[in-house]
Structure formats: structure tokens, C-alpha cells
Symmetry: C2
Subunit: 102 residues, 2 copies
Amino acid sequence: MPYELALAALSDPTRRLVFERILAAPRPVAAIAKGLPVSRPAVSQHLKVLKDAGLITERRQGTRRLYAANPQALGELREAIEAMWQEALGGVAAAFDAEGEQ
Amino acid sequence: MPYELALAALSDPTRRLVFERILAAPRPVAAIAKGLPVSRPAVSQHLKVLKDAGLITERRQGTRRLYAANPQALGELREAIEAMWQEALGGVAAAFDAEGEQ
DNA sequence: AGATCGCGTAAGTCTACGCTAACGTAAGCG
DNA sequence: CGCTTACGTTAGCGTAGACTTACGCGATCT
């Protein structure tokens, strides 16, 4: 699962709220939607995007579905960001060296 | 600078291309736009968004402007993602425990 | 079997935003 | 001074996507 999908999925504020609500523990849809400023179908749509991005997993339990965060996708995103961070650190050092030479 | 802005800024594919082009070393706008599938003004607009998100810094040098990545904002984003990752790991462990008890 | 719960999906609307084309501007050069 | 370079900015357009309303469907209860 490419990290780009996770990045795009987490860029929406409402979707981040949805995701953060199932970070600590799995929850059914109605419990996620409760207290959010959008309707339950909207939450369902956000869950689909998060699932397609690999950020969450779905488990059916009777008539309801439990959604849980998937740490692996989050780990991949973390590593991608960290790689960019490292490269940026190196870039600053290189620019500083070039500055000193002129 | 809140990490939400950085997240939203990096969610666009073209803007990511722009950002990655100045990760290793600072560049003027024309150099960034060269080879990209969009016009130079579009690159300028992306640079503005990245700057507003704190991800890059601008330094004027005569008639041109050098854009460089800002590792600090990237570091903050990295830490925010890492915190969510840790929480997700804890959530999975908690769900597993609950599974064993029933 | 009928009723209800818990949820996904489809259709339609409206806003955000990425893009181009055109223009404006400050710095260097002859 | 013009002229060119290297940009930023604006106006306008087109589309992706976030949202609601309405509907459909399987599981559970009585």
C-alpha cells in the first residue's frame, strides 16, 4: 500500500477525526459518528477511503462492523516522512557548506 | 506551525513533486518547474502553499528566489504521525486482550 | 413472518482547489 | 533608459470530492 494514499486520506480534517476515533480501540460506525459534525453516511464514506488507503481494517460482528486502525500503514507513512526529513536535513547541511565556500 | 497544514500541503501529487525537488538542495523556481507537467505559475502557487505550511523557506538572491525545505516542519509532521502510530499499536494490543477474555 | 437495527450505496448539490492565460513588477544588462 | 530575465498575482474555468437525502439489504428480535 503506497504511502501516498495514506497521506491523501489523512489530509481531510473530518476524516482525521474519524481515524483518530478508532486509533485507541475498534469501534462500530454509529459510535464513530456520534459527536461528529457530519451524518453517519458521511462517516461510512470516510471509512471506505481510509480502508482503501490501508489505514484501517473492517471486521463484521453480527449486524455491525468494527473498524480498527492498521498500524502497518501508519508505520509506512512514518518511514516515508522520516526519509524526506533526513534528506531535508542533508540538504540544509549542503546549502550551508555551499554558503561558506563563496 | 500545526502539522495539519503540512499534511494537507503534501497530499497533492504535483505539490509533492515540487517539494521533493528542493529536498536535497535549494533551487530557483524555473529549475523546479523544468520537467514538471505543469506551468511555472502553477509551481509558484504550490510554493506559496508549501511556504504557508512552513515546509519551505524563501531566500531572495538578486532577481531570483531560492526555495529550500524546512526540516523542522517535516520533523513535527513526523512526530505527529509517530504518535498516531504508537497509539494504534496500543489499540491493537488492547483489542487482542479483549479478544482473549471473551 | 414482520419489525427494527446497523450499516453501505446511489444520486445530486455545492464548495474547494489545481490549472492556464494574461498581466504586473523588481532586478540586472546593453 | 529600454530590454530581458525571473518571478508573483489575478481572473476565470473545470473538476474532484465532501456532504446530505433517500433507498436497499442482511442480521437480530418477538
